[in-house]
């Protein structure tokens, strides 16, 4: 299988690119490919959300994401895995997070992708602020 130059783990202030992830997964895996994209929800209670701002403790976030990557490959027998997370300002309809996995069978691909998102949301030091259209910020105390 050809190697891709797309990084498997990425924290990026630029918009994330599902087509690139999909292309990279497809070139390295036959069988079942599952992709997850999280986009900002546009409401916080009654208030309209205009954008998200993501901050990270970058070196630790990279290390935690790498742990997730290695564990997912081992546990679910993945052929390939990409985990990309947006940093900085993320507008509506942009990807906040992208996960792409390839495995010989779909059950493993689905379960890996779910597990990756559960882990990411509980361990990776990234924080979200919601920018409301009234100009205020909302910071979740208990996500």
């Amino acid at each position: 299988m050809q190697r891709s130059t797309l990084p498997n783990i990425l924290l990026s202030i630029e918009p994330l690119d599902l087509a690139a992830v999909e292309q990279a997964v497809r070139s390295q895996s036959k069988g079942a490919h599952v992709f997850f994209s999280g986009t900002p929800r546009d409401k916080r209670d009654q208030e309209e959300v205009r954008a998200l701002i993501f901050d990270a403790y970058e070196p630790m976030a990279m290390q935690e994401l790498t742990k997730i990557q290695l564990r997912a490959i081992e546990v679910f027998g993945l052929d390939v895995i990409y985990i990309h997370h947006r940093l900085g300002k993320c507008f509506m309809q942009e990807h906040a997070v992208l996960v792409g996995v390839g495995a010989p069978h779909r059950r493993n691909a689905f379960e890996a992708c779910m597990w990756i998102m559960d882990e990411l949301k509980s361990t990776v030091p990234i924080w979200k602020k919601e920018v409301l259209t009234n100009g205020s910020f909302y910071v979740t105390a208990h996500p």
Binding site: G38, Y57, M60, A96, P125, W127, K128, V139, H142, P143
Partner: protein, 81 residues
């Protein structure tokens, strides 16, 4: 002898310490639990539901901090994804 520990603060925690880092003076070695008490004394309004990371790894409350040069961070509940 007192050492100055530089503590990185992220997310909600940074709203309570007025920036992305602050200094705690402590006689080393101390445990993570003891560090938490010192942080609570300094910033009583800061919620205590954070984790402590030492050298980029989550630390348990009984882990010992013996080196003032190690990188210490307080990690409030994460909200990525």
């Amino acid at each position: 002898m007192e050492h100055s520990l530089n503590i990185l603060a992220f997310g909600q925690a940074s709203l309570f310490c007025g920036g992305s880092s602050f200094v705690i003076n402590a006689a080393l070695p101390i445990t993570v639990d003891e560090l938490r008490c010192l942080i609570h004394k300094k910033f009583p309004m800061m919620p205590t539901n954070y984790m402590v990371a030492i050298q980029l790894e989550y630390a348990s409350n009984d882990q010992i901090i013996g080196d003032s040069n190690c990188e210490i961070a307080i990690i409030p509940p994460v909200s990525g994804g």
